[in-house]
């Protein structure tokens, strides 16, 4: 009975905007264990494959005058490298492969998630939280290894008047620990919201099948809305990858040069 109510026979519009985010096993219908091959596995593998195709196969020619694909690979390389160098400084370049990994993973996961029927791995807080925690731990460890207790001067704003400093220190400490939270929720939230909105509009699209009168108005509008939101989502997919990466660089700069 419930399945009937859930199925296609149900009259009216079907709203399941969150179904796209469900983690499902690829084979069978069992529970999801740690090593189960799921749609997460599939789309992460596709992300890796896309990165491999662009950065390894695309540059296989090693041409002095690059092909189109090689140009894009070089562009991505220069883009991230310059970002690291400009924001974190020359000594931040040691972390360039690490930051490039984050950037490419997020960018390709976001972009692949925009394909119809795709699963967006970066819309899950579990994934983005791990990414953010990795950055947080790296930055904290690097900070303490490089500067020892001197890293704590990050929280001690020496340019502020002395009585204010303890208050500022408290605020700085709190903001420091909030970083991974905002870092991860920003990315997951953006991805999830956009995809959910597209799905909601998509649910309105078959209105014309149900009621021709209303459908004539609603169906074209919702299709237009899907296209518009999709274009916006393309932008967001890139911008969120960029924002995540540049914040990583900023945090890394704090670790390398904690003195204000």
């Amino acid at each position: 009975m419930a399945t009937d109510a859930h199925g296609a026979a149900e009259p009216g519009l079907v709203f399941h905007p969150m179904d796209q985010f469900m983690v499902k096993p690829l084979f069978g219908d069992g529970a999801v264990g740690i090593f189960t091959l799921t749609n997460v596995t599939l789309w992460m593998a596709l992300t890796v494959a896309a990165i491999f195709a662009l950065l390894v196969m695309g540059t296989a020619g090693r041409a002095t005058i690059p092909s189109r694909t090689q140009s894009i690979a070089e562009l991505a390389y220069d883009f991230v490298r310059k970002m690291v160098e400009d924001v974190a400084g020359k000594d931040g370049l040691k972390f360039f492969p690490y930051i490039m990994t984050l950037f490419l993973f997020i960018l390709f996961a976001n972009m692949l998630g925009l394909l119809p029927m795709a699963f967006t791995t970066t819309s899950h807080i579990a994934v983005t939280a791990v990414l953010a925690m990795m950055v947080f731990l790296t930055v904290t460890i690097v900070g303490f290894v490089r500067h020892g207790a001197g890293f704590l001067s990050l929280f001690w704003v020496s340019s502020a008047p002395l009585p204010l400093r303890p208050v500022l220190a408290l605020i700085e400490v709190i903001s420091y620990f909030v970083r991974p939270v905002s870092h991860s929720i920003r990315l997951a939230g953006n991805m999830m919201a956009g995809h959910a909105v597209v799905k909601v509009f998509a649910a309105f699209a078959p209105m014309i099948v149900i009621s021709t009168g209303i459908g004539l108005l609603v169906t074209p509008l919702s299709i237009l809305a899907i296209a518009t939101i999709y274009a916006l989502e393309l932008l967001v997919a890139f911008i969120q990858a960029y924002v995540f990466t540049i914040l990583t660089c900023v945090y890394l700069k704090d670790a390398l040069h904690p003195h204000h």
Binding site: M1, V23, V32, F52, L55, E74, P97, T101, T121, L131
Partner: protein, 173 residues
């Protein structure tokens, strides 16, 4: 029925907060990240860095080569100008030398001609003088003969010595 209602409920809830899938996601995420990291740090990034460095190198080389060629062009132009100036100077010199040589020849020829003319004039004068002298002698002889004849005809006796003296005295006058 109750369990099915439960299922639909969980399906409509946020899949992101379904903690039972976290382990799976995190595991595969870490696998993916490690693979990407190795692809990048072992293959892709060194390769792209090498390509970019090589391109930078060849651009620098090409610029240096262009600079070199330009310098050589300037040098060649300089050499051409120099050669032109040398040739002009040489031509000038040859012209001057030739002029001088011709003038010298001319002077020499003039001098020679003048000398010849002077010689000829002298010769002529000498011949003239000789002719005049011989004419005078002839005139004297004729005058002596005529005087002697005249004296004889007039019935005198022509004394050779006095006739000659008389003729000579007359001819001096």
């Amino acid at each position: 029925m109750a369990s099915e209602a439960q299922a639909t409920e969980s399906a409509t809830g946020l899949p992101q907060l379904d903690f039972s899938t976290f382990g799976n996601q995190i595991f595969w995420l870490l696998v993916a990240l490690v693979v990407i990291y190795f692809i990048l740090s072992r293959v892709a990034l060194p390769r792209i860095a090498a390509v970019l460095a090589e391109r930078q190198g060849s651009i620098t080389n090409d610029l240096a080569a262009a600079e070199d060629l330009k310098a050589r062009a300037v040098e060649a132009e300089e050499a051409y100008r120099q050669a032109l100036a040398d040739a002009r100077a040489e031509a000038q010199k040859i012209v001057a030398e030739t002029k001088a040589a011709i003038k010298a020849d001319l002077d020499r020829a003039n001098e020679k001609a003048n000398q010849e003319i002077a010689e000829r004039v002298a010769e002529g004068e000498k011949a003239l003088a000789e002719i005049r002298a011989s004419a005078l002698d002839a005139v004297r002889d004729v005058a002596k003969d005529v005087a002697a004849e005249l004296v004889t005809v007039m019935g005198g006796k022509a004394d050779g010595r006095s006739v000659t003296a008389a003729v000579n005295a007359r001819m001096k006058g």
